[in-house]
């Protein structure tokens, strides 16, 4: 039964992706990208990656869609035709990359394999069993994110800070150049 749902979701993802590529209406493309994110979130939930699914639904389907629509209101509603580049060349690049990625998955352990490195590595015992005795936090993701990997998360927040500042600087500067000198 789960296999059927997996295949169904994957098929929908492929359909959404092809539709986004073929559409010339940018508004419809943005909405379909949002649908794509929502489908990915469903897929992550099925894989028991609830925290990732949560983020994908909130960021991918929510905020980034709004920001894309905001960008759309500054530009045209339809994609201009006649983009440069050979379609054959693009197809070749995509096929090569895809083949390389599929080839790389042959080295990965099978899904749910108990002998996979993530289950046999010593850190597994620490994160999954010892972390509750140390912190009394049922959600391992939170204790790993905030405590074991506190430095990493600090770095991530700093990345968000700098990215936010950079975008704000770019946008406010462009407005000054467009507007009349004060």
């Amino acid at each position: 039964m789960t296999i059927a749902i997996d295949v169904f979701l994957m098929a929908l993802l492929v359909v959404a992706a092809i539709a986004v590529i073929r559409l010339r209406s940018l508004f419809a493309a943005v909405m379909l990208t949002s649908v794509y994110s929502l489908l990915s979130a469903c897929w992550f939930t099925l894989q028991d990656a609830v925290d990732v699914a949560f983020t994908e639904a909130a960021v991918g389907a929510g905020i980034s869609t709004v920001l894309m629509l905001g960008t759309l209101s500054l530009t045209q509603r339809n994609e201009k035709g006649g983009r440069g580049g050979h379609p054959i060349l693009g197809l070749a690049v995509v096929l090569l990359t895809g083949t390389a990625l599929v080839y790389a998955t042959f080295d990965m352990p099978h899904y749910g394999d108990p002998a996979a490195p993530i289950h046999t590595h010593p850190i597994y015992e620490e994160y999954v069993h010892a972390s509750y005795d140390k912190f009394h936090i049922p959600n391992i993701v939170t204790s790993v994110l905030a405590s074991y990997r506190g430095y990493d998360t600090f770095g991530e927040v700093t990345v968000i800070l700098t990215a936010g500042i950079a975008v704000l600087l770019l946008l406010s500067r462009a407005r000054e150049e467009e507007g009349p000198p004060s």
């Binding site: 925290d51 905001g70 936090i137 405590s147 927040v157 946008l171």
Partner: protein, 139 residues
């Protein structure tokens, strides 16, 4: 969208629950899925929904851009501040165990504050980005 009655009424009913849910995700992240990153985005989504339906000017009155700009830095300061506090208490940077007599409680305080810092920065950056994009449209 300001002229449509139904979305406005529905949004008025929904926005408090969206904000409440963001706070739930923020402070319940120890027990269920979620945490500062997700909570920040959901909270910002509530504010952005308000701005979409009631206009940018109304949203700017509720959440002033100057406050947002300060909050962007404040979240990171809070996170770093917890690290400095743990160092001042004799521990290592971001070693929350020293924050309370019981190391488990110290960890709880530390994770709560750190996640709060993450949530504040993410919320503020998302709202600031939306203001920047939407502000250009009206300019």
């Amino acid at each position: 969208m300001r002229e449509y009655t139904v979305p406005r009424v529905v949004a008025k009913i929904l926005i408090p629950y969206i904000l409440l849910y963001a706070l739930y995700v923020q402070f319940h992240g120890d027990f269920g899925p979620g945490g500062g990153f997700q909570a920040g985005v959901i909270f910002a989504a509530g504010v952005i929904l308000y701005a979409l339906l009631f206009g940018l000017a109304a949203a700017r009155r509720v959440v002033p851009p100057d406050v947002v700009r300060v909050l962007i830095a404040f979240g990171v300061m809070l996170y770093g501040g917890v690290g400095v506090a743990t160092m001042a208490k004799g521990g290592k940077f971001l070693d929350y165990g020293v924050l309370a007599h019981d190391p488990v409680h110290g960890q709880h305080y530390g994770i709560l504050l750190v996640e709060l810092g993450v949530g504040i920065t993410v919320t503020a950056v998302m709202i600031a980005l939306f203001y920047a994009f939407a502000g250009r449209r009206s300019a």
